[in-house]
């Protein structure tokens, strides 16, 4: 303690805690924690409601299945299969569109073109379902007949071709259109962040535009592309209504993409079965929902992990 009375009382190291501050920061923290609790609650409730389903008897399952795993297996396969097919279609297209907007289109219109692609993301999934079943399925059916007739020796295209076009391939096309804006938006952001100097250096070495993209833009954006694809995968895995409406479903494992026996997805199966279910069947459906939750959680966590390890994509 100094003896001089002129010196102001020592400022405490801790700032003053006003009650208003405490209340406000407490509320904010509570809101943040509520999110943690909500996510934990999702997991807990789903697990709690799923446990009865594990011991489900044969009589309570749809005809032809004797255990829960036997029922859930084909559904998991269908979910992953439809999503992967969708990605096969969507990824090359999205990369092309992202490059077109970031490096090919004239600067003045590029932003507008980005909005146009974003419009695809704004369309509700039920509208995609209506469109898929009314317009797309009849439109692609002749192509399917063609593929089946002339390329039937390719394993995927064999089998008896569907007369309605409501096959897993049509679903994959619809899903591809739905995940396309997501993948495109993230890739576009990443491509735009390529250091200008690297691009100019490539040009200075005499590279054409494509060579410049191959040696500077794509390597720079690799992590961003991977995580964008994973996010698209997450969306495709969880999509419900478009699949439920377009697909003529069956709970099977089948690699044929043009036939009437199409493996259905977890989400579509829940949407179709739930309104008419009661008792233990509800628990069975919730248990399949839990499986879906775990799959998408892992995929999204991986995607976010990749994004946060690289600095890009923080604003998405």
């Amino acid at each position: 303690m100094t003896s001089s009375p002129a010196v102001a009382p020592p400022v405490s190291a801790k700032p003053v805690r006003r009650p208003g501050d405490l209340i406000f920061s407490g509320t904010a923290l509570a809101a943040g924690l509520l999110i943690l609790v909500a996510l934990a609650a999702v997991a807990v409730f789903l697990v709690g409601e799923s446990i009865p389903a594990l011991g489900v008897k044969k009589a309570d399952l749809p005809v032809g299945f004797s255990t829960f795993l036997e029922y859930a297996g084909p559904l998991v396969f269908g979910t992953v299969w439809a999503a992967l097919l969708a990605l096969v279609i969507a990824v090359p297209l999205s990369l092309g569109i992202a490059l077109f907007i970031s490096h090919y289109a004239p600067r003045r219109v590029a932003r507008g073109l980005g909005y146009v692609i974003d419009l695809l993301a704004a369309v509700p999934s039920v509208v995609y379902g209506l469109w898929g079943i009314t317009v797309l399925a009849p439109f692609v059916q002749p192509f399917y007949t063609f593929l089946n007739t002339y390329l039937g020796w390719v394993p995927f295209f064999s089998g008896s071709v569907s007369a309605t076009g409501r096959t897993v391939l049509t679903v994959a096309v619809v899903l591809a259109v739905m995940v396309l804006p997501i993948i495109t938006a993230l890739c576009r952001e990443v491509f735009l962040q390529t250091p200008r100097l690297q691009e100019e250096a490539a040009y200075a070495l005499g590279a054409t535009r494509w060579e410049m993209i191959r040696i500077s833009v794509l390597p720079f954006g690799r992590a961003g592309i991977v995580s964008a694809v994973m996010l698209g995968l997450g969306r495709a895995l969880g999509e419900t209504l478009a699949v439920a409406m377009v697909l003529s479903p069956a709970v099977v494992v089948s690699f044929f993409v043009l036939t009437t026996q199409n493996p259905t997805t977890i989400a579509a199966n829940i949407a179709l079965q739930f309104p008419d279910s009661y008792g233990i069947s509800v628990n069975v459906l919730i248990a399949t929902g839990l499986v879906l939750f775990v799959i998408t959680f892992v995929v999204n966590a991986l995607a976010r992990g990749i994004v946060s390890r690289t600095s890009v994509g923080r604003n998405n």
Partner: protein, 358 residues
């Protein structure tokens, strides 16, 4: 002497500037002719305009590569091929968008009349009826979701930007990111499991359940967008307020939030636009009804997307009026989503804070 160098391999010959566009036009014309022949030969039922654009563009990519390869060499040819492919990818993505908008408009106008906006489906069999009960349900359920998620989302964003340090903040950020990817049907299952357990009713259906499910999908979107906007508020503003002795919470309420308000409102509007079209969770937990139901907390409640889906999936004996109603609700839904997106852009543009230019 100088002209001799031109042909000597130092400079390769190149195609004229607009040759690429010209080739595109030629390819389209060729394909248009080809499909006309198909039509006249009776191979296709109607003139296939999509086919013309698609195969014309593919032909263009091949032609550009071949001609450029012959005239300009392999490197230039590859460059031109990629340019053509990238442009084609964009055109392909536009095709479903155009087709979708056209279909919804053409089929939706059939029942876009006064009755659709003034009548419910109570006691309606066959033609007539409307989607008023679905419109009311959409508004109430979405409003309920917004009432839950806006305070939670906004406060969580404030916590992350203004207070959050260390493990808790990192965990919240990570889980919010992961939450963005929760399948909507899982959100519906959760809301159902939660509310049927709380009320003890295994067949629980109400609009409020729908609001809970939607808010689970909406909160992460609100958090992310508000977080971005709060981060954009310059630190100088906060420091100036602190220097004047303003408490921290008052700084946030009176300085930070008003500055970011336009951006936050834009984000919330976009979040509403995102969840208003959700079908799957509402199908599970909100149920289906043909009557008006203004009470969010009791009885099943139907929204536009669910109405559209059920009208399509369960048409009556004569399916036409039912399917017409499905398309009209799709049209109304798309109009609402577009209006919300437009509103968000307008808010972002006109109510943005006036920052001094640097």
């Amino acid at each position: 002497m100088a002209t001799a160098a031109v042909g000597s391999g130092l400079r390769r010959s190149s195609l004229p500037k607009y040759s690429s566009l010209g080739l595109l036009a030629v390819s389209w014309v060729v394909m248009a002719g080809l499909f006309l022949i198909f039509l006249l030969a009776g191979m296709t039922a109607a003139y296939n305009l999509v086919g013309v654009v698609f195969f014309g563009t593919v032909l263009w990519a091949a032609a550009v590569w071949l001609i450029s390869f012959l005239v300009e060499g392999s490197r230039k040819a590859k460059d031109r091929l990629v340019t053509a492919l990238v442009t084609t990818a964009f055109v392909i993505a536009l095709l479903p968008l155009v087709s979708l908008v056209e279909t919804v408009l053409v089929r939706g106008v059939a029942r876009f009349d006064v009755a659709f906006f003034s009548e419910s489906m109570r006691n309606i069999v066959g033609a007539g009826g409307g989607g008023l009960h679905a419109i009311v349900g959409t508004l109430e359920i979405t409003l309920g979701a917004a009432v839950i998620s806006v305070p939670v989302g906004l406060l969580a964003a404030v916590y992350l930007v203004e207070y959050g340090r260390g493990a808790v903040a990192r965990a919240i950020t990570f889980l919010v990111d992961v939450m963005t990817g929760i399948p909507s049907i899982v959100a519906g299952l959760f809301a159902f499991a939660l509310l049927s357990l709380v009320t003890g009713n295994p067949g629980y259906r109400s609009g409020f359940g729908g609001s809970v499910a939607l808010s689970l999908l909406m909160i992460p979107i609100v958090v992310r967008s508000s977080e971005e906007m709060l981060k954009l508020v310059p630190n100088e503003l906060r420091e100036a307020a602190f220097a004047l002795g303003v408490p921290r919470w008052l700084t946030i309420v009176k300085v930070v939030l008003p500055t970011a308000l336009a951006g936050i409102v834009t984000g919330i509007t976009l979040a509403i636009a995102r969840v208003i079209g959700e079908t799957a969770p509402l199908l599970l937990v909100a149920g289906y009804t043909t009557s008006m139901n203004y009470n969010l907390f009791s009885g099943p409640m139907v929204t536009l997307p669910v109405f559209s889906y059920t009208q399509y999936a369960q048409p009556g004996v004569d399916p036409v009026p039912s399917i017409d109603r499905a398309w009209t609700s799709a049209l109304v839904l798309i109009l609402i989503v577009l209006l919300l997106n437009l509103a968000a852009r307008i808010i972002a543009r006109f109510f943005a804070p006036k920052m001094a230019s640097r």
